[in-house]
């Protein structure tokens, strides 16, 4: 069966050609990827990132933006590698959210 992401040759509408700026969080996701995949760490390979992006359910794949897919795949790869546990990640996410809510 064809995977959802494997859409070569299917109708997809026009390509948006205008330049756009990146949000701060998107630049951070890019930097995370560079740091995690650097030869001295190798905590993530681009092929693992792709596998995790391609494993997204079709509706999530379509709904998420480019860097949303990346950060989701980064988190899943690090969980699979045992770099952190789901519980550690969940607690850290709650901590960061609380920090952002404080004026």
């Amino acid at each position: 069966m064809r995977s959802h992401h494997d859409m070569g040759g299917l109708p997809a509408g026009p390509v948006e050609r205008q330049e756009h700026d990146y949000a701060q969080w998107e630049k951070r996701v890019d930097a995370l990827m560079v740091l995690l995949s650097a030869p001295q760490r190798r905590l993530l390979r681009v092929d693992e990132l792709r596998r995790n992006i391609e494993a997204l359910p079709p509706d999530a794949y379509d709904r998420m933006s480019y860097y949303e897919r990346w950060i989701s795949a980064v988190a899943n790869t690090l969980l699979q590698r045992g770099v952190f546990t789901a519980d550690e990640l969940g607690r850290k996410m709650a901590e960061v959210e609380a920090r952002q809510d404080t004026p």
Binding site: M1, D6, G8, D47, E48, R51, E54, Q80
Partner: protein, 102 residues
């Protein structure tokens, strides 16, 4: 201490007619769906690389797999292709996805 990782011998020379295997295993595959089952011509051998299907699971992907650039005729891929008959598309495909064309 260990030997340099070996690469598999190249099975195909430039000009060889090859057919892409029809297979759909799970995992990270770099052979597009639309090219599986199609026949083309080896344009060049690009070198040998660790198998990305294995790298995707953080395994070494050795021995390295020869990678070819294969040329296909657009008219043969797309029944409704409206361009020139000589238009081609080139796709890089790992050796384990290729068989000699029948």
């Amino acid at each position: 201490m260990s030997e340099a990782p070996q690469a598999l011998a190249a099975r195909f020379a430039p000009g060889a007619r090859v057919t892409v295997r029809r297979a759909a295993p799970p995992g990270h595959l770099r052979t597009p769906w639309y090219i599986r089952g199609q026949t083309g011509e080896v344009e060049r051998l690009c070198g040998a690389f660790a198998n990305p299907e294995e790298l995707a699971y953080n395994r070494p992907g050795l021995p390295r797999q020869p990678l070819y650039r294969v040329r296909f005729r657009q008219r043969e891929l797309w029944p409704d292709y409206g361009g020139a008959a000589q238009d081609t598309i080139e796709i890089e495909i790992y050796q384990h996805w290729l068989e000699p064309a029948p």
